[in-house]
């Protein structure tokens, strides 16, 4: 197991390959030996051996060809290394096994296509020498390439992004060459691309395999074999007559996806499941699976994988050129297909957005933006105000759907301004909604809430109460209020959104998980912990049913659940939940907000056990990851700084602790408004630290400030106070400082009692 292989720059690491099955020698098996062939030896009596064995007698010789050894075998045929006797050259010979080839017309069509394919002469296409038939068995011969297939090269292990782009550009150019000559591959996939020792790709089976396979499959087993992982929807659904170059462009995108992420865009347990995914789902953004994928390359990849052929690159050449731009670090032409990545990021903190944006992207119909702009200019020139407004509104929508947020804001503001006095129709509501969302994403929720509330009024009067657009707006409004710390309003609007979506989408729709998460957030922030726990568990239930295992949303819910369990004192369960979240986040590449969140929760749990050093290293790791993800100034960063400062205060580094807490507080105040409930824990910790330092007045003032803020937030404020004191007390107690902990427990209990009283009154 000492094979020192590096996968940094060269596409094909110089390594030894099994001459029988092509697998990498060594790898995870014994050094220098072939693992699969070793296991094949164990199965040898039961199955046709993979190891070099005599070919079936009837195949020893096939016409002009002498069969030298079997290279590969599939369900329907086998590829042999063979010598063409008349020309004394080594070729690869693909022979269909078993049964007669289809009758007259099919055979004729096969011949026509085969001849077209045989005319392809390109350095990256495996040349076909002869197409024939021997004793009713169709075969063709082609160049023998010593190398490995892309499948063997990358199984489950992504290639470096640039290497993948270089490789795919070459393949796309070759595919374009074939398209120009009227030949469509129809079955591009990693196992149909051979990579030679020099790292050059060679496409095999051009224009042939599919037809031959399809026929022989049907005659042999009565079912279509193979997995549709690399096929576009139009092909997987069996509309074979309409398969053209766009199908190959899709397949190229699928191959690129595989190279970048180590897996195809869709992969179900059965072909039928894969097909269902292909028809109903968007591929997971490659950067979520491998954070090392550059954004532009992801954009290129996803454009190939558009469901509608017209939305893909118009040709394989266009794709090759785009990859060229990427490789030269020039701007690419394609726009990001959606705001999924952004929704991911924001979704970490506010899961609501994921739902809203997901819906947006799913419904988006992208007419070319240029056409909109041209139309707009024309309308303005003609002085047609109403139509100008409509066009602006459409433009805002398109830009928003494609992730151009500044452009969307501009267009939406234009559309709204054009009808300032008479905002009343659903177009207007849509513009307001777009503007509200863009502002919210920029953390300008004050203005966002105004626009969203207006949009909601219009939509309710126009569309009724139970309508998906109304639900989306309620959701966005709740998000904005949440960001503003207006928790009561947020809670109401989340609840209303929940009712609307519950009535309109299935229980297990991913959107429902976001709604449950938000309910959980609201419950946990006012101390209703059992309800919060139940809500997060509901979210997890939906997520585990509706999402792929290891999805980041699952980790999000697990973290939130862990926080609630911590507050409930169920620390073992909390630890398990956070650990699970951590494992998922690390499975996603480790550079995820959820990883930082999980580390922070685990840090808190460790601190509660008195393990300050371990707690601190967790918080420090969370801090550094959050800085990388969100920048130096951010409320999550402030939370990490605060947590670390408290640990230092416990150790007696009071001076350092108080100044760090001041920084954390100032950062939060800058990002949030000055009466936001999230400031309360920082103020309590700072107050206590100052008192320890001997600054009794300063300490008292800070704690007074915490109470003033809390008073404005009802139950949410009371819980934040109680929790803030309780956490400090827990940490002291864990260090055996019971006497100091006692008054803080007392404070916590007082606020908790007030909270219970106010709940009882309601």
């Amino acid at each position: 197991m000492k094979s020192a292989q590096t996968t940094t720059t060269c596409v094909v690491p110089a390594e030894r390959v099994c001459p029988r099955c092509g697998a990498k020698l060594g790898g995870f098996g014994p050094e220098g030996l072939c693992g699969p062939c070793l296991f094949a030896s164990g199965l040898a009596d039961l199955e046709p051996p993979v190891a070099p064995t005599p070919s079936p007698p009837s195949f020893r010789r096939l016409g002009d060809y002498e069969l030298l050894g079997e290279i590969a075998r599939g369900g329907m045929g086998a590829v042999f290394r063979a010598r063409q006797v008349s020309l004394n050259r080594i070729v690869a010979l693909k022979v269909m096994l078993g049964g007669d080839f289809a009758g007259g017309t099919e055979q004729a069509r096969f011949r026509v296509e085969a001849q077209a394919a045989a005319r392809l002469k390109h350095p990256n296409i495996v040349a076909i020498h002869e197409v024939g038939e021997h004793d009713g068995q169709p075969f063709f011969s082609m160049d023998f390439i010593e190398g490995r297939t892309l499948r063997q090269l990358t199984w489950d292990t992504p290639l470096p992004a640039r290497d993948a782009a270089v490789l795919l550009r070459t393949v796309a150019e070759a595919v374009h060459y074939a398209h120009e000559r009227g030949v469509v591959h129809r079955d591009l996939k990693p196992s149909n691309v051979l990579v030679d020792a020099a790292g050059q790709p060679h496409i095999t089976d051009f224009g042939l395999a599919k037809r031959m396979d399809a026929e022989s499959d049907l005659t042999m087993s009565g079912m279509v074999m193979g997995t549709p992982s690399y096929m576009p929807p139009e092909q997987a659904s069996g509309q074979n007559k309409t398969i053209g170059p766009p199908a190959d462009v899709y397949a190229l995108g699928a191959v690129l996806y595989d190279l970048l992420t180590g897996r195809p865009p869709f992969r179900g347990a059965t072909p039928a499941e894969t097909m269902a995914q292909l028809e109903s789902q968007e591929p997971i953004a490659p950067r979520l699976l491998n954070s090392g994928v550059p954004r532009d390359l992801e954009t290129i990849c996803l454009k190939c994988l558009e469901k509608a052929p017209s939305r893909r690159y118009e040709s394989a050449l266009a794709l090759a050129e785009e990859l060229g731009r990427f490789l030269r670090d020039e701007p690419i032409y394609a726009r990001p297909a959606g705001t999924l990545e952004k929704s991911w990021r924001w979704g970490r903190r506010h899961p609501g957005v994921a739902a809203a944006l997901f819906l947006m992207v799913a419904i988006a119909v992208g007419s070319p933006i240029v056409a909109y702009r041209m139309n707009l200019l024309r309308l303005r020139a003609e002085g047609n105000a109403k139509q100008t407004q409509t066009a602006l509104s459409d433009l805002a929508w398109t830009l928003y759907s494609t992730g151009d947020l500044p452009g969307a804001e501009q267009a939406a503001r234009g559309a709204i301004a054009a009808r300032a006095d008479s905002l009343a129709d659903t177009n207007d509501a849509r513009s307001l909604w777009i503007l509200g969302n863009v502002l919210w994403m920029r953390s300008e929720s004050g203005e966002a809430a105004v626009h969203l509330a207006r949009a909601l009024d219009i939509q309710r009067s126009q569309l009724g109460l139970t309508n998906i657009d109304v639900g989306k707006t309620l959701f966005s409004l709740a998000n904005a209020q949440f960001q503003l710390g207006k928790y009561a309003g947020a809670e109401n609007h989340y609840a209303e959104a929940f009712d609307v979506f519950s009535a309109l989408v299935p229980k297990l729709h991913p959107v429902m998980a976001n709604l449950w998460n938000n309910r959980g957030n609201m419950f946990s922030r006012k101390g209703n912990l059992p309800a919060a726990e139940a809500a997060y568990r509901q979210a997890l239930d939906v997520e585990t049913n509706a999402l792929q295992g290891g999805h980041g949303d699952i980790a999000f819910s697990l973290n939130q659940l862990a926080i609630v369990l911590t507050d409930l004192g169920r620390t073992d369960e909390a630890t398990a939940s956070a650990r699970q979240a951590l494992a998922i986040g690390q499975g996603l590449g480790g550079r995820q907000g959820v990883v930082a969140d999980a580390l922070a929760v685990l840090g808190t749990l460790l601190a509660k056990r008195g393990r300050l050093d371990d707690a601190e290293s967790n918080h420090v790791a969370a801090l550094s990851l959050r800085r990388k993800l969100f920048g130096q100034e951010n409320i999550d960063v402030a939370d990490s700084l605060g947590a670390i400062a408290v640990l230092r205060a416990l150790r007696g580094d009071l001076k350092e602790a108080s100044s760090q807490l001041e920084i954390a507080l100032a950062m939060s105040q800058k990002k949030l408004h000055r009466e936001h409930p999230s400031l309360i824990p920082h103020l309590i910790a700072l107050g206590w630290t100052l008192q320890q330092e001997g600054d009794a007045l300063g300490g008292a003032l800070r704690q007074q400030e915490a109470q003033t803020i809390a008073n404005k937030h009802g139950a949410y404020g009371l819980w934040a106070l109680s929790k803030g004191f309780r956490e400090l007390a827990d940490l002291l107690k864990a260090r055996g400082r019971d006497r100091e902990a006692e008054p803080l427990f007392g404070e916590a209990a007082d606020w908790r009692r007030k909270l219970d009283e106010s709940a009882a009154q309601q």
Binding site: G27, F28, G35, F39
Partner: protein
């Protein structure tokens, strides 16, 4: 020096006696450990702890922690804390071990940390290389923790079988023959190099063919025995072999 009978490491599993396996014996013993079952469990754990270590490392733990965790887990596992757990995954030792590790990591690692360590049984020692030294020599990988575990498992299994055959041949002085033949049969020995090989071993071509055949046969029997020892029923053998083969095909 013909090896008509495969060397059989499995306590209690007689030649040709495929009715019971080490794992089924252990499972049957349950909490009332017989010395044989206990010994068998320890042997199995010793053989497959490296894949566990890799799993823990892939989860992101530091080398020291990963080593501690693996050791602690195995001590607990051998101490049978996990064997009483009713679990549909118990059929395969491979899956059961991983599932148990996950339970351990999720539920018990922290609890254990706070307890006094080392009471009861001494930890298993790593034989030669420390697991981290070994891990570092491997290619950098991006596999999921589960897949990393499984691939290592398959690799370890083959290594064990080859080591056993090699040890037999070493003891009867045919080590060179073993190494050359092994590379010829499963390595990148060139086809058509038969003649060279025969010359190198000073053998007639026919004798060489017989030797190759014999090696294959011994390997096959030993491999099946080894895989079988991790299963609860011989019915699962072929399916498990195919699964392992697929793991390494990638």
């Amino acid at each position: 020096m013909a090896h008509q009978q495969p060397h059989n490491p499995a306590a209690g599993a007689g030649s040709g006696g495929f009715a019971t396996t080490q794992w089924s014996t252990i499972l049957a013993a349950g909490a009332d450990s017989s010395p044989q079952a206990q010994g068998a469990l320890e042997r199995l754990c010793r053989a497959y702890r490296y894949p566990l270590y890799v799993h823990v490392r892939r989860l992101g733990w530091k080398p020291e922690d990963a080593e501690d965790m693996t050791q602690e887990f195995l001590a607990r596992f051998i101490g049978r804390n996990y064997l009483q757990r009713a679990d549909p995954e118990r059929g395969r030792f491979r899956s059961f071990l991983l599932t148990s590790l996950k339970h351990f990591l999720a539920d018990e690692w922290d609890k254990l940390q706070t307890q006094k360590r080392g009471g009861g049984r001494p930890p298993l020692s790593w034989d030669d290389l420390s697991p981290e030294e070994r891990y570092r020599m491997e290619p950098a990988e991006t596999l999921t923790p589960d897949l990393a575990y499984e691939k290592r498992w398959a690799g370890m299994l083959l290594e064990r079988v080859l080591d056993q055959l090699r040890a037999e041949d070493e003891s009867n002085g045919s080590l060179r023959e073993f190494d050359l033949l092994k590379n010829h049969v499963w390595g990148d020995g060139k086809a058509g190099a038969y003649a060279d090989l025969a010359a190198a071993l000073n053998m007639e071509a026919n004798a060489l063919k017989v030797a190759v055949h014999r090696l294959r046969k011994r390997f096959r029997e030993q491999l099946r025995q080894e895989v079988l020892s991790t299963l609860s029923s011989p019915d699962e053998l072929d399916e498990e072999m195919r699964h392992l083969q697929l793991l390494l095909s990638s």
